[in-house]
Amino acid sequence: MSTRADEEYDYLFKVVLIGDSGVGKSNLLSRFTRNEFNLESKSTIGVEFATKSIQTEGKTIKAQIWDTAGQERYRAITSAYYRGAVGALLVYDISKHSTFENVERWLKELRDHAEANIVVMLVGNKSDLRHLRAVETDEAMAFSEQHNLAFIETSALDASGVDTAFQRILTEIYRLMSRRNMAAEEGGNQPRLTSGQTISLSNEKQPRKNCCQG
């Protein structure tokens, strides 16, 4: 399998999008990876993903961002969805309070299915809908501090905050990992990543040194 030069990267991180259906997960993904927004996008069925590489602290990080339906029914694919994810963007819609109320439920879902040390960022999307705002920034901020989550407001529609959100979560994952790696090196024979966490989740591409075995 061929790997083009522009696909070279130092790290591959899997990040999942979660949150109620209709909050704008798929549009955040298309805005970030393709700079596209679609007012009439179809509901997501099953799982999808897109990738994009970013630079942070001199490293190239390839983000593999997974998107799925918000409906609870789709358990059949849940475990594969969370497997190996190192980050999660938990999205709600600032114009629909119920989607914010459900954030707790999504946190529980993460506790049940994702790795314990997954990095979670709370994302209040549709910030362009100022006149319809139903969730105050302060309220969400307080909630995120209380639960030790990063927090940002975005608009997939006007693009504000979207790049920042992804950049921040990827950087944070990277820092956390390098810290862990250092600790691991100091600690001796431990594996490069703790708690069995794999960074490359697709079995496909490894960091560039051994990318061409396929």
Partner: protein, 500 residues
Amino acid sequence: MSQQQSRGLPGFLRRTFRTSDSNISATNTLPDEDTPVPSVLDNNGGENATGKVEAPAADLNSEKRSSSDSRISGTSASASNAATPITNRAVLETTPTSASSTGSRKHLRTIAFPPLPHEMDANDEEGEGDTTTNNSARPAAAAANSSRRLLDESIQSTTTSTNNNPAPKSYKEIQFDTILASPIIPIRDLRKLAWNGIPPHHRPTIWKILLGYLPANTSRHATTLVRRRREYKDAMKQHYDIPDDTRTNSEQETLRQVLVDVPRTMPEVPLFHNDRVRRCLSRLLYIWAMRHPASSYVQGINDLATPLIAVFMSGYFGGKDCLDGEVMGDVSDLMLEEIEADTYWCLTSLLSGIQDHYTSDQPGMQRMVMHLEELVNRIDADLAAHLKSTGIEFIQFAFKWMNCLLLREFRLSCVMRLWDTYLSEGDGGFEDFHVYVCASFLVHFSNELQQMGFDELFQFMQNMPTDDWGDREIEILLSSAFVLSTLFGGSEAHLNVVRH
């Protein structure tokens, strides 16, 4: 299998067969006789009256086979003459038929014919009501003792079909007209015919019949429609036209989900931008959810209602394609009410056959994905091995194919053609046969897929390149799925494989 027999198959299947188990011969497993499984439409709270019709055994394989071939060679299947003696009925061709309107159906119904043998059978067994969805258009199992004969016949019909002698274009239409003019519609004949595609103006009525919504007995059509539409109105009063604060939390949640999804249903089709159509869709989805609490509304069911709405609407306009939404100015509220009710009942019937696809944990979906994986392992080992090596899981890409029955993969007009065949397949159409279609679909892209790594594969399959597909491509897909299903079809078929 021999070179010769594989010649009539689409190219991608021919290639595939080389990698398949060489002990299995396509011709030996050609199904022989209809073995109707007496099953009844699921009776959801009395929503479906049930009845069953045992169809007489008939030999339709040679016809099916030749018509599969004809899709490739471009000639029409004439072998069906043998199965449906229509000579004395061809007079009917001059009768203007617009089976989609009840009025003309009444008119046709007054023309009496001596019933054909299968019609009499159908008549005998006609139950109280409505339905005859049991008989597959094609048999499920092969009977070993006559497979030899079939083999000969299928070879014969293959040769005749290459004998470029195209019947007049209206030939197929005449057959449809004839069947629909019968006082008791011979369902099995109808399935056979409809398997190869239904002319647009007949589609609304035939879908309703094949879904068991309209009974085989055409004299009951009008009263059935009146009754069912009234029942739907009652359901609407009970579930929909109530104050929101009388709904439970979970009912409100369901309604919210429906209302989130309706505006993003088929956004590429202007008809579904229409507010009146959206209101219909919201209502019928919500009412369906209320009446089927074991699954309730599941995302993707909204997609499944769209072909029904579009087809039933076209029935009011002589089969005209309504997808651009331009007819909406001519669609009265009464028409729309009827379309909504008919769609509701037909969706109910369709979903009752695949109910566990949408219940908790979606076992039906998982079963189909597993079946697909097994099939691909057998028919295209190279592709299967490649997919495995990339680490992609079938559930990751095929889930959507199962959940939305390929509605996300093809444009709506192609889906209509696809469903002609699914509905003609009988009970297994949307389940078993669908899996064969998915397998053919995947294998169709085998070469390309084998060049791709995980990322590329996944993204390719998120958005399969079918923009330029039309009925022809769908028909090739269907005929190869048919061949696969005879090769690898159900457990019974396996037992009946004759090896030489």
